[in-house]
């Protein structure tokens, strides 16, 4: 009997780095950026023939605008990524967005706030963000304490929060135009718009959270194999709660960024945002079943959608084409993703 001598393989402990991606993951996560590049090429070329505009699609200013315009859905989609990695879903973000916006704009008209002048602005932001966190916490607590599936819980609160939006101010829009706030929101710093800074800042922070912190890694573990996480002593409930509070916060942040600039919210605003956010997250390759996904790829998904809208408008596509193309591209990407991840002929036919 030849006894193979045990050879302990010590992996070289490199600097303080998070786990590296396997090659297939890198390929799949890179795919969305490939798609973005494809769109850019297509619209630049098609735009030459179809657009009445004289400015090029790839104009730097246009690309900066692209980032800025991606911000409202983008910030929400980033939060949705975490929720989905965690194995949940949140359909109520659109309503949370609207309710936070109402608090933001209405609070500035409260007498004591009005008396504070422009100092009311940061306080109004705080109120709006607080609203988002509270609404998220309600979802999180219900999911945690009742054990009802997040899809159902947030489908319910999507209706419920929207009801609250209407109850706040009837069917009237809530408005407060503050030019200081608008100027801040429209400002450009180092060429990037305020909204872009918020978007990129959120990307950076959430990327760090998901790749470097214990909370982030536990969120992956819970979404990946909840029972294993529970057995390993990870308290699933508080992580759910934190992540729902986080997405509530981000929906509110999105509202803060957007309504600082626009100053008026209709009670219907933010409808369908949840669906766009989920679309962006899925385009970015995050698994609906949880446990797998990346913040950076979601950014790619958000940009891909915004680029599609912008580009279709640029080449003069009409409403029906835009709807048809966006719907079919979503399905096509899902199909491609599946083909790329197939195991080939040895797969079990179940």
């Amino acid at each position: 009997m030849s006894q193979s001598t045990p050879q302990p393989i010590a992996s070289p402990v490199e600097a303080d780095t998070p786990p590296r991606k396997s090659r297939s993951a890198l390929f799949v996560q890179g795919a969305i950026w490939g798609f973005v590049v494809l769109e850019l090429i297509f619209f630049s070329v098609a735009g030459r023939f179809l657009s009445v505009s004289d400015t090029a699609f790839l104009d730097l200013d246009n690309m900066l605008l692209l980032l800025k315009q991606s911000a409202p859905i983008g910030i929400i989609a980033l939060g949705m990524t975490i929720i989905m990695i965690n194995g949940n879903i949140d359909l109520s973000v659109g309503a949370t967005f609207a309710l936070s916006a109402i608090v933001l704009l209405d609070s500035m008209t409260w007498p004591f706030m009005a008396a504070m002048g422009d100092w009311a602005i940061p306080l109004a932001w705080l109120f709006a963000l607080g609203t988002g966190v509270v609404l998220g916490a309600i979802n999180g607590l219900i999911v945690w304490k009742t054990g009802v599936d997040a899809f159902i819980v947030t489908l319910g609160s999507m209706l419920g929060y929207r009801g609250l939006v209407f109850m706040y101010n009837g069917e009237q829009p809530t408005s407060h135009l503050n030019w200081t706030l608008v100027d801040f929101a429209e400002a450009q710093f180092l060429g990037l718009h305020t909204a872009t800074w918020f978007l990129l800042g959120t990307v950076l922070v959430l990327w760090l959270v998901m790749t470097r912190t214990v909370h982030g890694r536990n969120a992956y573990a819970i979404g990946n194999n909840r029972e294993a996480a529970v057995n390993a002593g990870i308290r699933v409930g508080p992580h759910f709660l934190i992540n729902f509070m986080l997405i509530g916060f981000l929906a509110a942040l999105s509202a803060v960024v957007f309504y600082s600039e626009s100053g008026s919210v209709n009670p219907n605003d933010g409808m369908l945002y949840e669906l766009w956010a989920i679309t962006a997250v899925v385009l970015g390759g995050t698994k609906l079943s949880g446990g797998y996904g990346s913040i950076i790829s979601t950014l790619g998904g958000v940009i891909a959608i915004q680029l599609l809208r912008k580009g279709l408008g640029y080449i003069g596509a009409d409403t029906e084409t835009v709807n048809l193309v966006i719907g079919l591209i979503l399905i096509a990407v899902l199909f491609l993703d599946r083909q790329l991840n197939r195991k080939g002929s040895e797969e079990l036919k179940i």
């Binding site: 219900i142 945690w144 304490k145 009742t146 054990g147 009802v148 599936d149 899809f151 159902i152 819980v153 489908l155 319910g156 609160s157 999507m158 209706l159 419920g160 929060y161 929207r162 009801g163 609250l164 939006v165 209407f166 109850m167 009837g170 529970v230 308290r235 699933v236 409930g237 759910f240 669906l275 989920i278 679309t279 899925v282 609906l288 409403t319 029906e320 084409t321 835009v322 709807n323 048809l324 193309v325 966006i326 719907g327 079919l328 591209i329 979503l330 399905i331 899902l334 199909f335 599946r338 036919k349 179940i350």
Partner: protein
């Protein structure tokens, strides 16, 4: 002994919780406003719930089969617009089968993607929600679609007619519910839907053609949508392109209220009908006691959470979830 009785009540609540809630709810509203249980009002509510209801019947199949269908609202707009347009070009006798054929094609496409290609149903039907809306706008050119000669057609029968004093939409809803209930609970196909939704792999290992079963659930859903579109078109003899917009979530809410699990494998047609009626009566009841329409959103929220909570609590026989 008392524990046993308690368990008995708990068991009843668990099994028929939604029915109990429905009865309690009706009694409370009837006391608040006796007109609520007026036969005209009741028949009115059922009639206006019929369209949503027929769609919910189809989605029940999809959900029990373990999938979702978010495209039904958009598809219903499509059917309505198509049948109205074809009514004036082909005549009503040809328009109805033609519309059914086209709608079933859409259902078959979704069924193919979800059943045979195994793509995620949430995303597929989300994509189709948008794509079908595009198709509808292309078909209609974005115009409202109205039948030219509203007084010279029998087409209004499905939405406005009545047989022996009972409005036709109610009859169609009831007929669809009975037929589909039999299909789901009594036929081999119905059994397979439960098996595929309950454990698709085990169903495959038992020789159940999983892909075909899923495909068929979407065909049934599309057929229900087409029926709903027919009722809708017939009822108003004209329509906007957005007539079904947002209904997918109402439909889903009704199915969930009825207690179908989104994981698949459970739910019944009867319970879905109760879910539909609850939604319809909430809306009507709140209007009757003079509350604004949006209060119904909040009430629906609370009722959905409570209903589903009660259901899962009964299944695990404890109120609060075991999540640490």
């Amino acid at each position: 002994m008392t524990a046993l009785t308690k368990a008995g009540i708990g068991g009843l609540l668990a099994r028929q919780g939604i029915l109990v809630a429905f009865v309690v709810f009706m009694i409370v509203f009837a006391i608040a406003n006796p007109r609520f249980i007026d036969i005209d009002n009741v028949s009115g509510v059922i009639r206006s719930s019929a369209i949503l209801g027929v769609m919910a019947l189809g989605v029940t199949f999809v959900v029990i089969g373990g999938n979702l269908d978010l495209s039904v609202g958009s598809m219903m707009s499509f059917s309505t617009i198509v049948v109205l347009d074809l009514h004036d070009t082909l005549g009503p006798t040809l328009a109805i089968p033609a519309m059914f054929a086209l709608t079933l094609c859409l259902g078959a496409f979704i069924g193919f993607l979800v059943g045979y290609l195994r793509l995620n149903s949430l995303i597929v039907t989300l994509g189709m929600l948008s794509a079908i809306h595009g198709l509808t706008l292309m078909w209609s050119g974005g115009q409202n679609m109205d039948i030219a000669d509203k007084w010279g057609t029998w087409f209004g029968f499905f939405g406005r007619g009545s047989i022996a004093g009972v409005p036709v939409p109610i009859l169609m809803f009831a007929l669809a519910a009975v037929v589909l209930s039999l299909v789901l609970s009594k036929t081999p196909f119905g059994r397979k839907v439960y098996a595929v939704g309950g454990n698709g792999t085990a169903a495959t290992f038992s020789g159940v053609p999983r892909a075909r079963v899923v495909f068929m659930t979407y065909i049934i859903s599309a057929a229900c949508v087409a029926t709903a579109g027919l009722m809708q078109a017939s009822r108003s003899l004209g329509s906007q392109n957005t007539v079904g917009q947002g209904m997918e979530l109402e439909v889903l809410a009704a199915v969930i209220l009825g207690g179908a699990s989104l994981l698949g494998g459970s739910g019944t047609i009867f319970k879905t009908v109760i879910g539909v009626l609850i939604l319809g009566f909430i809306q009507n009841g709140l209007l009757l006691i003079g509350l604004e329409f949006y209060v119904q959103y909040v009430v629906t929220w609370v009722i959905i959470i409570l209903a589903v909570w009660l259901d899962v609590a009964a299944k695990r026989s404890r109120l609060w979830s075991p999540i640490a």
